[in-house]
């Protein structure tokens, strides 16, 4: 047993942190926030140059051919830096589905362009509850219909993968966004640095990804895998909140002493540390399960996801509290993390979806 990232992986993490501390300051994130942009295009171009868009894409398709462990450490840094880029949509989700279920032709046509940054993609995560996803899109003869539904990053994506129902069950389909039948309109989001769009499909032309009727399994599995990566982003963000809270309360004085010397504040920060340690430890196990396709990936992903979501919410709210009135201002960065915490924890289904998925899996394991 060895429960630690390798020296090489830690080095990649260190490089990522240094790079982002220059290219993705919170000042930079605020440019996206205040400007209403859908992403930080300059940062995205740098990320493409580093090859991150192809981290887990095999070299034969133009990627770096690294394992998911390397992607996990990068994800933690992206989360810490609040990176306003669509890597989760494009890489953790869309690329992953093509790698898992795409035909050879689809892989050859899309993966090199995804890796090289020529195209961006996203996946519609259907509404979820009770541990299941409920697709709202209908498929008929290669075309898709749907009323407006939420899709992260759709407005900056070249194609979208959606789950749609037909007589054969739920299948996955790829639609390019350059057609008139795909109507994408902007909307406001809790976290404006990660944009959401409303997408309506009026008989959009599509191609199937994977087999008929196997869409729920593939998508469920893909979301499990993405959940581990997002958990690392959440752990990174939560750690940033703890660092920020510690820094501020150490330098802020009240009643003639540092606020951080009051036990109510110390215990608050200790609880933040505890929540992060539990979440990080579950995320590590998730990373191992993800990189080895372990049998208990679903359990591992759900545990990582639930504890990381809880930790990020707890840390981002208590960081605001520890900052006093300053924490409630637009000017201070506390709310950027608080917003991102909500965004990430809703992105792949809320806690209700994950708790149900976890308990269903426990039941299944014990029935066997």
């Amino acid at each position: 047993m060895n429960f630690e990232f390798s020296a090489d992986q830690k080095f990649i993490q260190q490089q990522a942190r240094e790079f982002l501390s220059v290219k993705c300051t919170t000042q930079q994130v605020r440019t996206v926030l205040d400007g209403g942009d859908a992403l930080d295009e300059a940062l995205w171009q740098d990320v493409i140059k580093l090859g991150w868009t192809g981290t887990t894409i095999p070299e034969s398709y133009g990627g770096l051919g690294l394992s998911h462990l390397e992607l996990c450490v990068i994800a933690e840094e992206l989360g810490r830096a609040l990176a306003p880029i669509p890597l989760s949509s494009s890489l953790y989700l869309a690329t992953e589905i093509l790698l898992m279920a795409g035909s050879e032709k689809q892989k050859q046509s899309w993966l090199p362009r995804l890796a090289g940054g020529d195209v961006r993609a996203t996946v519609q995560v259907p509404p979820g509850g009770a541990g299941r996803l409920y697709p709202t899109v209908q498929h008929k003869d290669g075309t898709l219909r749907s009323e407006s539904c939420v899709v992260a990053d759709a407005g900056i994506a070249d194609f979208i993968i959606v789950a749609a129902e037909d007589e054969e069950g739920i299948g996955l389909f790829l639609i390019t966004t350059d057609q008139e039948a795909v109507v994408i309109s902007p909307t406001t989001a809790i976290d404006p640095t990660r944009p959401l769009f409303m997408v309506a499909l009026n008989d959009a032309t599509s191609e199937r990804v994977g087999g008929a009727g196997d869409g729920a399994d593939i998508l469920g599995n893909c979301i499990d895998r993405a959940a581990v990566l997002v958990a690392f982003e959440q752990v990174g963000g939560a750690s940033a909140c703890l660092d920020m809270g510690r820094e501020y309360t150490t330098n802020r004085y009240a009643f003639g002493r540092p606020v951080a010397s009051f036990q109510a504040i110390k215990h608050k920060l200790a609880d933040m540390f505890v929540a992060i340690e539990l979440a990080r430890s579950n995320a590590y196990y998730g990373a191992w399960a993800l990189s080895t396709d372990a049998a208990d990936l679903t359990l591992a992903a759900a545990a990582a996801r639930i504890s990381a979501g809880d930790a990020y919410f707890a840390c981002s709210k208590e960081n605001i509290q520890a900052h006093g009135g300053m924490g409630f201002t637009w000017e201070f960065d506390c709310h950027l993390y608080y917003r991102r915490a909500q965004h990430l924890s809703l992105l792949l289904g809320g806690q209700r979806y994950w708790k149900n998925r976890l308990v269903d899996q426990i039941k299944l394991n014990h029935a066997a």
């Binding site: 429960f3 150490t250 200790a270 539990l278 590590y284 196990y285 504890s307 426990i362």
Partner: protein, 408 residues
């Protein structure tokens, strides 16, 4: 990153599985009530058997009665023995706290003489730190050790909450040797013969009715100077070594109640259907599963760090802090789910041999023993996060001038 056993670890696991299947007692659905004395005797017998097979104190060097194995192998042992109705970690205070203190501070001759008997549980050891006036602030202790002309030390005073003192041959004791210097500098650590005339042990009845801990009175008890552990006045740093080992020793075996809770969820029928299908139960099951998994995985990370040469830091406080509180919350939750009949404590009638009824009464103690929840948070805040200490009223003044209160 790799969670699977290496070939060597897998071989070790197979070996002990085989040994346990022959030598250990299987879990029985209905284990009756046993008095403390008989539980203790059974535990001693079991440890002797384990020792003779070479499976005691896995991480200790072989010459001191240990297995000369790694922390990871110790964990494998704990995982496997957990499948049987045998005590693991029963002598954790001696083997987990006192053993490492001797390892660090005793002479070679003492280690070879004392440690193997501790490993086999032929000698039981207790830890005599807390006093009526000094628990969280243990450095405020008052039990005096004075060196007589014959160079032996005479011990006078009172210890309290000493777990297992009634069964112990030896104890590791922290005493004040100089009251005129600041409190941390006037302490000295010894080991002491518990069976001598000057030591009187009186069991204390706990709130759950059990009697695991004791008051211990010292009336001119004698300790030879050669039984001193560390320098005169060096007791505090010696004690910190012990306490650090304690947190590590319990962080892996700290009961958090999850496996019993899972068993409840999978087997219980509530008034309106199986527990596992109840939305409220499911919500809690998910939460506690995540905490339990988080603790296990955090422990694995700590072990990895140790096996790569790191030292366990205050992070080890995590298991204690989270597990103890969780245990109590689980007990309360299950009792409230069951409803009125859960108030019955009788093992014959209450679900799972009254596990949760016992847990609700025992769990408050776990949040106190080995450092309270509040002290654990202080440790994390100060030692891990580096936050400033609170202003203190006992700094820089001689021990004898420090203010005291009237609650004993």
């Amino acid at each position: 990153m790799d969670f699977n056993d290496t070939a060597e670890q897998a071989a070790f696991r197979a070996e002990i599985r085989e040994w346990l299947s022959v030598n250990a007692t299987a879990r029985q659905p209905n284990q009756g009530v046993q008095d403390l004395g008989s539980v203790f005797r059974r535990a001693k017998e079991w440890y002797k058997k384990v020792y003779d097979a070479g499976y005691a104190c896995h991480t200790w060097p072989k010459e001191y009665g240990g297995g000369g194995r790694s922390q990871i192998e110790a964990v494998i042992w704990s995982q496997e023995v957990a499948n049987y109705a045998e005590p693991d970690g029963y002598f954790v205070i001696g083997q987990g706290n006192c053993g490492p203190a001797l390892m660090a501070l005793a002479t070679e001759e003492e280690k070879r003489r004392l440690l193997p008997r501790m490993a086999s549980a032929e000698d039981v050891w207790c830890q005599l730190f807390s006093e009526p006036g000094a628990g969280s602030d243990v450095a405020g202790l008052r039990t005096r050790a004075v060196q007589a002309d014959d160079s032996d030390w005479r011990i006078n005073g009172q210890k309290i909450w000493t777990s297992g003192a009634q069964f112990s041959q030896y104890g590791v004791i922290l005493c004040r040797t100089d009251p005129d210097v600041s409190k941390y500098r006037g302490l000295t650590m010894f080991y002491i013969d518990m069976e001598q005339a000057g030591v009187e042990v009186r069991p204390i009845v706990q709130m759950d009715g059990g009697q695991h801990f004791n008051e211990v009175y010292f009336n001119d008890a004698v300790v030879p100077d050669s039984w001193r552990l560390g320098e005169v006045g060096g007791g505090w740093s010696a004690a910190l070594t012990v306490l650090m080992n304690e947190r590590m020793a319990i962080s892996g075996v700290q009961p958090n109640g999850f496996s019993e809770f899972l068993q409840f969820c999978l087997s219980a029928e509530l008034a309106d259907g199986p527990a596992i299908d109840d939305p409220v139960v499911r919500d809690r099951l998910a939460d506690w599963y995540c905490k339990d998994a988080g603790l296990r995985n955090a422990n694995s990370r700590m072990l990895t760090a140790i096996s790569q040469g790191g030292i366990p830091g205050a992070e080890a406080s995590l298991g204690k802090l989270v597990g103890a509180a969780m245990n109590q919350e689980i007990a309360n939750f299950v009792l409230q789910e069951i409803g009125p009949e859960a108030a019955v404590c009788d093992e014959q009638f209450a679900a799972m041999q009254a596990n949760f009824q016992k847990a609700i009464l025992f769990s408050p103690g776990i949040r106190l023993a080995g450092g309270t929840d509040e002290v654990m948070r202080n440790i994390i805040a100060e030692q891990v996060l580096g936050l400033p200490q609170e202003p203190r009223a006992d700094k820089g003044i001689p021990f004898c001038d420090i203010p005291t209160g009237s609650s004993s």
